[in-house]
């Protein structure tokens, strides 16, 4: 059966399966791979048979080289995905029989499911389910080409998937999850929206274009604390005149924050952003997952956050940070490149002379922003070589990163330790899901200045210019994306619908996508199966070992036992006879076979007769002559039949032969 040529319905089904499985990959595949897939599908369907093998080998090599040239690797989600997709297209091109088709179906399943490495949204899930369905229908058609109708196949597929659902559910809940990946992964290959590890004019403006969720928060007490909600993210120390970078990494002698008010507990569902930091309200104190505290008092996960994380977190709303600032960090917080912002330095020097204490300088700067003609816009005019001076004295319009950057530079120039904090500001409360949603469009940057006795103190210079931004979010700012504003900031049913949809989304992320080791442990505890996880790994290991052993046994058992020499020569002769067109029957002894050869191929009879004679002498005589084996070897060696010498007997036999296909 496996050598059967494939029927058209099977080929069409395969084409549809591959296409459906590949579509969600299209966004992150190189263009040539995206083009290769439909081209290969159409070519194969048009040709009706696979192209020459050398062409395929050439194409495989080309694809390999192209992927290598583009990504410099063949492993990993993106490069591997691109290579796999290209290979599937080429495999389809060379598919000729049931075996090829089966392999292609397995590859298609793999391609379909591997989408989840990049996206786990509900839409993706629905699409992958459809893809699995189409592929399964193709498998059913392949199993019985002349079987039921397509409609019956569709119903059957639906039934199989439904029946498989309970098995999936049990395995999904109980299969042990790992808190750590098995091996290291490349990171940052797939661009995700989110804050980056540097800040320069324009970087946050880009983030704000997206209405994607950054994270969702459920407060333990139900009600969120009073606004404003500043969600602390990466903190920047190092400035080169244009770009802010994290700089300070030493966090060993970091003092515990001094908590002066209430702390608040909440659950944070963090969307993957491919960076290590975790976001927390005001001053995050800790999380239930493994983490460390950075020098800027924001939290870092041990690995990049590449899938939805569910975190139990605790924050302080009133606190005092580093009332005693170590000299090294103070130094770090005052550094300014020598040539950067000369005008700003002049201004700051003037303020410093006028002010009595640091606090006055801060007020002076905020007043400066408020009273001069500063404006707040998402599309500020371009700044030149010295962005801070340009902003402060020429364009005077910008977005939060401009203000935070300029303000921090002014403070440092005035001798006040200062740093830039990025994160999110605000978030909307979703009554339906009882949680707070913080979107990428809520991204924000502000400053922290170090004041004697008070320690690090948050100052948001943007607030001085546009208190609206702080109070109602980026959507209210002129220049924000219109659709975004409409969707997330307007009142009325549209907003209600958007919030309802987001509630569904949140539940999905919380229950399905966020189901990880912690949630599994909690669930198992609630089910009274807390110890299960501990044994599951051992059971899994034993099972894998068993499967491996069985595989080894099967492989060795398949190997035929070595033949003794006489048998080996005899089978060689039989193989040659078979090639000459005479098929020895199972129930045919050597003598009968020789008689048939005499009848059907008299030209072979003498040579084969010698083989039979010496074989019988060797196997059946009571006294085996000493040179019998050598004689058999010689006879077999001399027996070299040609394929078909004469058609003499065949015509004669035709009269008694039944022309029907014959079972052998």
């Amino acid at each position: 059966m496996s050598s059967d040529a494939l029927s058209t319905p099977v080929l069409r089904g395969l084409a549809a399966s591959v296409l459906v499985a590949a579509i969600p990959h299209a966004t992150h595949l190189p263009v040539w791979v995206s083009a290769l897939i439909p081209a290969a599908l159409m070519l194969r369907l048009g040709l009706r048979r696979p192209p020459a093998r050398w062409l395929l080998v050439l194409l495989v090599l080309l694809c390999f080289a192209a992927v290598l040239a583009r990504f410099h690797t063949i492993a990993g989600a993106t490069a591997g995905g691109a290579f796999l997709s290209a290979m599937i297209a080429l495999k389809f091109l060379e598919t000729r029989n049931t075996r090829d088709a089966g392999l292609l179906i397995c590859l298609t399943y793999f391609l379909a499911v591997s989408v989840f490495l990049t996206s786990e949204s509900m839409a993706t899930t629905a699409w992958v389910l459809a893809s699995v369905g189409v592929t399964t229908v193709t498998l059913l058609i392949l199993a019985a080409p002349e079987g039921p109708s397509l409609r019956q196949h569709l119903v059957h597929t639906g039934r199989i998937l439904l029946q498989a659902a309970p098995i999936m559910l049990v395995l999904f809940v109980l299969f042990p999850r790992l808190p750590q990946p098995l091996w290291g992964m490349e990171s940052g290959s797939t661009a995700r929206t989110g804050l980056s590890d540097t800040m320069e004019p324009g970087s946050i403006t880009q983030v704000i274009q997206s209405s994607e969720a950054a994270f969702r928060v459920e407060f333990a007490e139900g009600e969120p604390p009073a606004p404003p909600h500043y969600w602390r993210g990466p903190v920047f120390w190092q400035f080169d005149g244009r770009t802010w970078a994290q700089g300070e990494r030493r966090s060993r002698e970091l003092d515990e924050p001094e908590i002066t008010g209430t702390t608040i507990e909440y659950t944070l569902m963090l969307a993957p952003h491919d960076r290590r930091w975790l976001f927390g309200l005001d001053l995050p104190l800790g999380a239930d997952a493994e983490h460390e505290r950075a020098a800027g008092y924001h939290l870092l996960a041990p690995e990049d956050v590449e899938s939805v994380r569910r975190l139990q977190m605790r924050s302080a709303l009133h606190y005092r940070l580093e009332p005693e600032l170590p000299a090294s960090r103070r130094q770090r917080a005052l550094e300014l490149p020598a040539q950067a912002a000369p005008l700003a330095r002049e201004l700051a020097a003037r303020w410093r002379v006028e002010a009595e204490e640091p606090r006055d300088i801060v007020d002076q700067a905020l007043t400066h922003f408020r009273e001069r003609d500063f404006s707040y816009t998402l599309s500020p005019p371009a700044t030149g070589e010295a962005p801070v001076d340009d902003f402060l004295f020429r364009t005077q319009s910008g977005y939060c990163e401009h203000y935070a950057s300029a303000f921090t530079v002014l403070m440092r120039a005035a001798g006040i330790p200062a740093r830039v904090v990025t994160g999110y500001l605000g978030g909307e409360t979703n009554d339906m899901g009882d949680y707070m949603l913080v979107r990428q469009s809520d991204a924000h940057a502000w400053s922290e200045v170090w004041l004697p006795e008070r320690g690090w103190t948050r100052v948001d210079p943007t607030q001085a210019v546009s208190s609206e931004r702080v109070e109602s979010g980026a959507g209210s700012i002129a220049g924000a994306d219109d659709q975004l504003a409409l969707l997330s900031r307007s009142d009325g049913w549209l907003k209600q619908a958007a919030l309802a949809w987001d509630a569904v989304h949140h539940t999905w992320n919380r229950v399905v996508v966020g189901y990880g080791p912690e949630m599994q442990q909690r669930l198992l505890q609630r089910l009274g199966l807390a110890d299960l996880g501990r044994y599951a790994m051992a059971v899994l290991a034993i099972m894998s070992a068993g499967v491996a052993l069985a595989g080894v046994w099967l492989l060795t058992a398949r190997r035929p036992a070595p033949m003794e020499p006489a048998q080996r020569y005899w089978s060689k002769a039989l193989a040659r006879l078979r090639r000459a067109g005479i098929e020895p029957a199972l129930d045919e002894g050597p003598r009968d076979l020789a008689a048939r050869v005499r009848r059907e191929r008299p030209d072979l009879a003498p040579a084969f007769g010698r083989v039979v004679h010496s074989y019988i002498a060797l196997r059946y005589r009571p006294q085996v002559p000493e040179d019998a084996l050598a004689r058999l070897r010689r006879a077999v060696h001399a027996f070299r039949p040609r394929k078909r010498a004469h058609e003499t007997r065949t015509a004669e036999r035709a009269g008694t032969q039944n022309p029907q296909p014959v079972e052998r």
């Binding site: 389910l129 498998l139 990946p181 992964m185 590449e306």
Partner: protein, 322 residues
């Protein structure tokens, strides 16, 4: 015998025990069915393994979900494969007799209780035919062809019934040991010996001499033509008697094994077989003499069958005959 071949022999015996046939009808039950993953099934399992490791590594929750969904599909596919053969009943019947060298067609009746079955493969390992669909309640009849080479009883060899429906991931199979065989007559080959009757003296289809040569009644012997039975006498006396004819005895043709000197045993049987067919065509009465059997002259399809059967089952040549 190595340990491995010992194991294999043991496995074979175990199969033998479980699949031993008890009659012409075999119903596939739990004991008789075996299941193993196919090559595609192993590939599928490897795919699932890769997906599982990918999901573990990337912590992709939905990767787990879909991997397990596919695992579930595999399990359901396994159960459905089993249910595709479970309960299927095969009834074997002897095929019509053929001459050696022809193909014997063994009829097999397949019944499916309850469910319809798809793509059931039936035949010897490797080759065989796929039965597209077995409808529930309606017996499906399949002809299994077997090429014959020698006369005698040719049994239907051990069969494999298998199914990989619906997902090709598992192969459920069972061995059938049908206790049927085809009767194979010798090949009717004319080796060129003169017929033991004169071709010129063809007689009419009634096949015997005239009524005037009636020679009285004699006891019925097996092989006598029903046309010669004395029906009136039977009605009168309740004894089966046959009208004997003087001329008939004189004209009877004897097809004698011993007359074919110079031919090998099997060749003689082939020649006799050709003669039986020819004599039956002429309509004359003919008898058959074999080393181990003797059939009185008669004619008709039933007589022909008896003669051919005797030829088919004649004892093989002893050492002297060859």
């Amino acid at each position: 015998m190595t340990a491995l071949s010992g194991i294999r022999a043991g496995v074979d015996q175990w199969f033998q025990r479980r699949t031993a046939s008890t009659g012409p009808r075999v119903a596939l039950n739990r004991r008789r069915l075996f299941i193993l993953p196919t090559g595609l099934g192993c590939t599928f399992a490897a795919t699932l393994g890769l997906l599982l490791f990918g999901s573990l590594n990337y912590g992709a929750s939905l990767g787990f979900a879909l991997t397990f969904l596919l695992t579930g599909c595999g399990v359901i596919g396994m159960l459905e494969s089993y249910r595709n053969l479970e309960g299927l009943a095969f009834t074997f019947a002897p095929p019509p007799a053929v001459f050696a060298g022809e193909v014997a067609q063994f009829p097999v009746e397949i019944e499916a209780p309850a469910r319809e079955r798809w793509a059931v493969e039936l035949g010897r390992e490797g080759t065989g035919q796929t039965i597209r669909r077995v409808a529930p309640g309606v017996p499906t009849i399949v002809q299994l062809a077997r090429e014959t080479r020698h006369r005698g009883h040719v049994p239907l060899p051990r069969l494999t019934v298998a199914s990989r429906w619906p997902l090709l991931l598992f192969c459920v199979w069972s061995r059938l040991e049908p206790a049927v065989s085809a009767l194979v007559y010798p090949a009717p080959i004319d080796h060129g010996y003169a017929r033991p009757w004169a071709d010129g003296a063809e007689i009419d289809a009634t096949g015997t001499g005239g009524e005037e040569d009636f020679a009285g009644l004699r006891e019925y012997r097996p092989g006598d033509s029903p046309r010669r039975i004395a029906w009136k006498a039977l009605a009168r006396t309740d004894e089966l008697r046959v009208k004997a004819f003087e001329a008939a005895t004189a004209d009877d043709t004897w097809l004698d094994w011993a007359s074919l000197e110079g031919l090998a045993h099997e060749a003689r049987l082939e020649q006799l077989c050709a003669w039986v067919l020819a004599a039956e065509r002429t309509g004359r009465a003919y008898g058959l003499i074999l080393p181990d059997a003797r059939i009185a002259p008669a004619s008709g399809p039933e007589h022909r069958r008896r003669c051919l059967e005797a030829l088919a089952l004649a004892a093989p040549a002893g050492p002297a005959a060859t």
